[in-house]
Symmetry: C2
Subunit: 360 residues, 2 copies
Amino acid sequence: MKICVIGAGNGGQALAAFLALRGHDVALYNRSEWRIAPIIKTRKIKVEGEINATAQISFATTDIAEAMKDRELIMVVLPANAHREIATKMAPHLKDGQVVVLNPGRTAGALEFYNVLKELNVKKDITIAEAQTFIFASRMSNPGVVRIFRIKNAVPVAALPSTKNPQLERTLIKVMPEFEIVESTLYTSFNNIGAVFHPATIILNAGWVETTFGKFEFYFEGISKSVAKVLEAIDFERCEIARKFGIEPMTAVQWLAYAYDVRGSDLYEAIHKNEGYRGIQAPTSLDNRYITEDVPTSLVPLSAFGKLVNVPTPTIDSIIQIASVIMGVDYFKEGRNFERLHLEGKTVEQVKRIMERGEE
Amino acid sequence: MKICVIGAGNGGQALAAFLALRGHDVALYNRSEWRIAPIIKTRKIKVEGEINATAQISFATTDIAEAMKDRELIMVVLPANAHREIATKMAPHLKDGQVVVLNPGRTAGALEFYNVLKELNVKKDITIAEAQTFIFASRMSNPGVVRIFRIKNAVPVAALPSTKNPQLERTLIKVMPEFEIVESTLYTSFNNIGAVFHPATIILNAGWVETTFGKFEFYFEGISKSVAKVLEAIDFERCEIARKFGIEPMTAVQWLAYAYDVRGSDLYEAIHKNEGYRGIQAPTSLDNRYITEDVPTSLVPLSAFGKLVNVPTPTIDSIIQIASVIMGVDYFKEGRNFERLHLEGKTVEQVKRIMERGEE
């Protein structure tokens, strides 16, 4: 299949290589050239870790039109806070029948993308979908060399509106059966697991991250028993919101079993049994996606959805507040709040209809 | 002067020794015997650090009646969350003319003590006072051996009601001119500096504390630039509350200059210039006074006072929430809230009158 991967960070390079190794024709796009300069030349990406091979992609480019041309499947592998910008950039080049998958969408990524196309009056027959999390735990060592620590067993994915799930089946699942189609983006959005793991862990280790430039293992050392309790509190709030929308949530503990085959009596134990997390170092600074991406696109929309269904989110809100102070950004205002998602004043039933059928 | 020191922790032993070295007759009380067993025998406390000497106290005891008998000045050196209990225990043994100083009161410690005596219908003429912070930075190495890292230049203190400030002048200031009498406990309560430094610092280093058992310098390494930003946000909320009560607050930066003679353009810089903090290790666990004392007796009352004067306290509330999750205690309910302080339904003017004149 002709596939385009948008974004050549840790994830994008790993995914481009993975798909090329499966025999697909892969175009890799990145906004800035430095990251893909070696790949533009050699068209090669070396993969280490769970897979050891060198993949040959078709081409790498900084030209979005060239990257998207004739591609059936477009895999967006960008921080979710870039979804609005990339949607705007992609809009003029979209063609009927194309499938765009946000890897991952965080919470309501597909809805944000959908809204941008609507605002720009794009009338093409596009399928927009969001994955619940990213398929790999991966880190780039150098441009053109990427380490895949672990391929998750399964990742839920859904189209918005869900009526487009069949198109997803025919494209995404055909090339990557690791994905599992679920009822709607209500499921992927409320089962956003990054919301649970990322922001609170980095914030509850803020001094450690900054003073040592992240010289500790993020999951194994950063998630001590008390940190795990805070993650569980966030997870509880998230699951309560999901239930109020009629979605059966996967708790963080259940998700670790689903995605990594690890089991524990509580979140602390399950995390510390997950060999997939071994070797993943903490970020070197707080100006990091665990805050700059996950707070505005995960915690902020969860807090907004919580308000709509009267689920209190004191722990989620506390992490948003502290992140806002640290970064000097009012994430409640700047993040995916209901104003930005065009959901202000909507009822629960209206929100469900929008996410499921793309209409009110 | 005949002085009683209640509590033989880091602070109580240091203060007892300090006062004995100034030639006073000091009785030292502690609830449990193990801490004072060596002192009961030898009546000696060795002081290291800023002072190097061995002090001779009159006696150490676990009998509160014996400890308080004939003492003019009673220095309570306990975590503020023990004020209610110690007030109840001291009540039957209080005599006319005694001066009780809470070292420190945290926020509204004197008011809590005062309320207990009122509830127990104690009619004695007692002066209750609270210090704004503890006079030393000190740590006990062994029972009977204590290190004073730094003696603060000055510590504000006030009686509740403030009309009793003259009694404080005649007793406390006579023996410790390092204290400075201020207008009222509104000042000491709203200038509670522990509220700013302690809970957020430990919480934003939760993983580091637990994973390494506190193997880092609490102030120098724990307070990174982002952690300092959160402390500044808490400080800002605290100062806004003080201003609404007509109290000119001392910002944390101003306080570091006042108490330690260190100056900095921001809180990060000032803290990192303070040699008085050098060598102070982080606590070995989160079950520590920086949370268990400071959250219920500093942040919770500040949040409550903030509500009364319409000052939003989102950062203070976030730290209270996360501390509650970590410790499994609802500090908003269990701490010094307005119900516990008997201030529910009171106006700002009534609260001021209670703190200043002991009446509504």
